[in-house]
């Protein structure tokens, strides 16, 4: 399934929905939730890994969005703003859980990238085409959280380096290097799955 509104400026359908919400339509907010629920959920999974609370957190994100949507200045796209809200909710939840917040430090980067490489069958494995997506998902899931988050925001949401830097609250240079590393690691992993080199 492909969404058509990825960072698509004024053509994004959420702009009209947000307009109706600002004019007092509560049902418009339900439409906004429908439009973004899977994406926000996926981003939470990118940041936290598979998490039994991911849906609860996604609900919390939408409640936060509801409370502050009227103050949304539209200086950035709605998606950039919504993902920044999501990142904050994840950060608060991690703090509440008392975990060390190391998600965005990339501390175990090389080790985790090696783990990601080991998570996917090697060149000798034969994989049906229908399994390709599951393999890719497994490869992405095995990446460190920051790589997953940067990949999702760049490849799926088509956000720019600058926008990703604002969402994750990290420097643009870090976004760039994480994306390069993640893409290079994935290239090595999924090349055999996607077919012979041209």
């Amino acid at each position: 399934m492909q969404y058509q509104d990825r960072n698509n400026g004024s053509l994004a359908p959420e702009n009209a929905i947000i307009g109706r919400f600002m004019n007092g339509s509560e049902s418009a907010f339900a439409e906004l939730v429908d439009l973004y629920k899977d994406r926000i959920h996926q981003f939470i999974i990118c940041v936290l890994g598979p998490d039994r609370e991911a849906e609860d957190l996604a609900q919390e994100v939408f409640i936060q969005i509801y409370r502050s949507l009227r103050t949304f200045k539209r200086e950035s796209s709605f998606s950039t703003w919504a993902y920044a809200v999501t990142r904050n909710v994840c950060r608060h939840r991690l703090r509440a859980r008392g975990r060390e917040m190391r998600l965005f430090s990339g501390g175990e980067e090389s080790g985790d990238l090696l783990k990601a490489a080991a998570a996917v069958p090697g060149p000798g494995s034969s994989l049906e085409t229908k399994e390709t997506k599951a393999v890719i998902r497994a490869a992405v899931e095995a990446l460190p959280p920051i790589h997953r988050a940067v990949l999702f925001l760049n490849c799926w949401e088509r956000l720019s380096y600058e926008e990703i830097s604002r969402v994750l609250d990290i420097p643009v240079g870090t976004v760039r290097s994480r994306l390069h590393n993640a893409m290079a690691a994935l290239a090595g992993i999924i090349k055999p799955v996607l077919g012979p080199e041209k």
Partner: protein
């Protein structure tokens, strides 16, 4: 141009290079099979990462969010009830209270005069119901001349000076 590293290729693919550099990369790609192959691999990675759809939430998700928001509404309503007491001290209510106090004082002064009680030498009352008394600059010093630092218009016996009077004097009301 030399062959590109992974970073350059990703930047090119993500359209993060300025146009001049993009043109250089395009020219290099047209004559370098090695870089073209790298770019194609990265394109496949990007397409693959974008092809895996986001993990779906369960069916009742949106209804759950809307229900939670509805449950929050009564709490918000009681909040606004609590705020209404504080609203007494907001400027609009404060002004009304000040006007009432003014009416009472004027009536008291008027009744005192009628009763033939000895008139005090100076009966000047200052009430502040807004920023005017605190900020003479708003009206300009020329409108209300100062004599030895004292507002001459305020020295008139029996006159109740308030900011509202001054506002009326200067023609705003």
């Amino acid at each position: 141009m030399r062959c590109m590293d992974d970073g350059n290729i990703a930047d090119y693919l993500c359209e993060e290079l300025p146009e001049a550099e993009r043109a250089e990369v395009r020219a290099h790609l047209s004559c370098c099979a090695r870089c073209r192959s790298k770019l194609e691999t990265f394109e496949q990675v990007r397409a693959a990462a974008a092809s895996a759809p986001p993990a779906r939430v369960s069916d009742g998700f949106t209804a759950g969010v809307m229900l939670k928001l509805k449950e929050e509404q009564p709490a918000a309503a009681s909040d606004s009830a609590r705020v209404s007491f504080r609203a007494l001290f907001t400027p609009a209510y404060g002004l009304t209270l000040a006007a009432l106090a003014l009416c009472l004082i004027i009536s008291a002064v008027f009744l005192k005069r009628k009763a033939g009680l000895p008139r005090p030498a100076v009966q000047t009352i200052f009430l502040s119901d807004g920023p005017a008394a605190a900020n003479r600059g708003f009206y300009g010093t020329a409108d209300i001349p100062l004599e030895n630092g004292v507002d001459s218009s305020a020295a008139e016996p029996g006159r109740v000076n308030t900011d509202a009077c001054r506002t009326a004097d200067c023609g705003i009301l």
